[in-house]
């Protein structure tokens, strides 16, 4: 299994890594049993993602997808960020090995979960806007 240079770059020098103290939208997805957890911190002002940070427990691809996803949504309006697909993440990384596709799904879902959390904090029902987020698990033995 080989990672693209882009994946290795984002793994080695992850962008926007860490926590955001004044985040107003936080989303966590994944679980320890499956081997990956992603947490996104968003600072949203006037429907624009002003700042973003992430924390990830997972493989190289999980770290790289989180990193590039933060770059792709930073400064973007919420409706645009919600349109970010896992396919776009994969393309931006110049591809992912087949076994690692689920990492890009996690990145997409982590962002949606954080945006949902923002709407909830604003007293707005997120479901009509964000849709239902189904917990994604790739392990057969995993009960979730």
């Amino acid at each position: 299994m080989l990672y693209s240079d882009k994946v290795m770059d984002h793994f080695t020098n992850p962008r926007n890594v860490g926590e955001l103290e004044d985040a107003n939208g936080i989303g966590e997805i994944g679980n320890a049993k499956c081997g990956d957890i992603m947490k996104m911190y968003l600072k949203i002002e006037d429907n624009i993602i002003k700042d973003v940070r992430f924390k990830t427990f997972g493989c190289g691809a999980a770290i790289a997808t989180s990193s590039i996803a933060t770059e792709m949504i930073k400064g973007k309006p919420l409706d645009e960020a919600l349109k970010l697909t896992n396919k776009a993440v994969i393309e931006a990384l110049d591809g992912l090995p087949p076994a690692k596709i689920h990492c890009s799904v996690l990145a997409e879902q982590a962002i949606k979960t954080a945006i949902s959390n923002y709407y909830k904090n604003q007293g707005i029902d997120p479901e009509p806007i964000v849709g239902k987020i189904t917990e994604h698990c790739h392990s057969e033995s995993c009960s979730i």
């Binding site: 860490g18 499956c34 997972g58 190289g60 999980a62 392990s139």
Partner: protein
Amino acid sequence: MTKTKIYMDNAATTKLSDKAFEAMVPFLIDSYGNASSIYALGREAQIALTNSRESIAKSLNCEGREIFFTSGGSEADNWAIKGAALQMLKKGKKHIITTEFEHHAVLHVLDGLKKQGFEITYLPVNENGVVKVSDFENAIREDTGFSSIMFVNNEIGTIQPISEIGSICKEKGICFHTDAVQAIGNVKINIKELNVDMLSISAHKIHGPKGVGLLYIRKGLRIPNLIEGGAQEMNRRAGTENIAGIVGFSQALKESVRNLDDKNSRLIRLRDRIIDNFMKIERVHLNGDLEKRVPANLNFSFEGVEGESLLLMLDQKGIAASSGSACTSGSLDPSHVLLALGLPHEVAHGSLRLSMSDLTTEKEVDEVISTVPEIISYLRSFSPLWDHIKENEKNK
């Protein structure tokens, strides 16, 4: 790209020894004959083959006619198990005993036999990664005809009670095979004292070449062939002999069994230094028994860290190692070996295997000791799982 400077993955494969390489060269260039041919070039190959077989037999304390060269450990395991199973059918037996944490070259063959109607007992291993002889005894049935139990586990390096189990098998008339791929060069192997009917070895784990191994089959034991064709290997394993490989194998084995005790005491010193340092890291586990273990193997789990990212970080520092995390196994679950020890999935995901060899130096060990803790704390600094662990600690 970073180059590997420190090789800590000798359980995966090893560097070819200089002497093995030198011994092989003539058979790759000038002495290229087929050992079955009658002319001088063929005879040279035949002599090299016979000498290698005798030398290997001497190292293992068995007879040359009990050694059958194969393409490696996986072929030897396949042959032993499939062959023994066919023998069992003749005797009307269908029960096989193995362990939960065998190599896939054993487990996957047994999976196939299960589909054909064989009944398999997978012995559990205790949390230290060692099979209990009493569990083996209790698993024996009237129709038990065969057992395959690994000598040394490839991931955690634990040594299994092969000789004891072998003697029970002898008494009960059960055909007994051991996969000794990870044992050879690490523990003394005296086949006569082992009570085994069959034993698999691979050359590339002991600084020999890849693509060559052997199956020891005790004289008097007949199992059907796996590879049919020409009359090579006393009519029992067809295919033109890999003379260069076999010569390299024989040379590597000679070196690997020499001064084994001295080599192991040096490795134990190195190993203990790593253990002393790594055990200072917060929430670390040493996987597998420490006493019943080959000195070259170390296996840790670091909570809150995922194994593949740990390996990639180590790779960037020029250190090659391996992990039992799902992400590195190519499957969806973490290593079946670590799960067999009762490790939770999340702890198994954070495992690191370091496997040393005679070529491992003190300086390399120093670098590993200083690098690993740094990487662990870096990866934990942005691990949500680590945050959860710390929060749970606080709440307790």
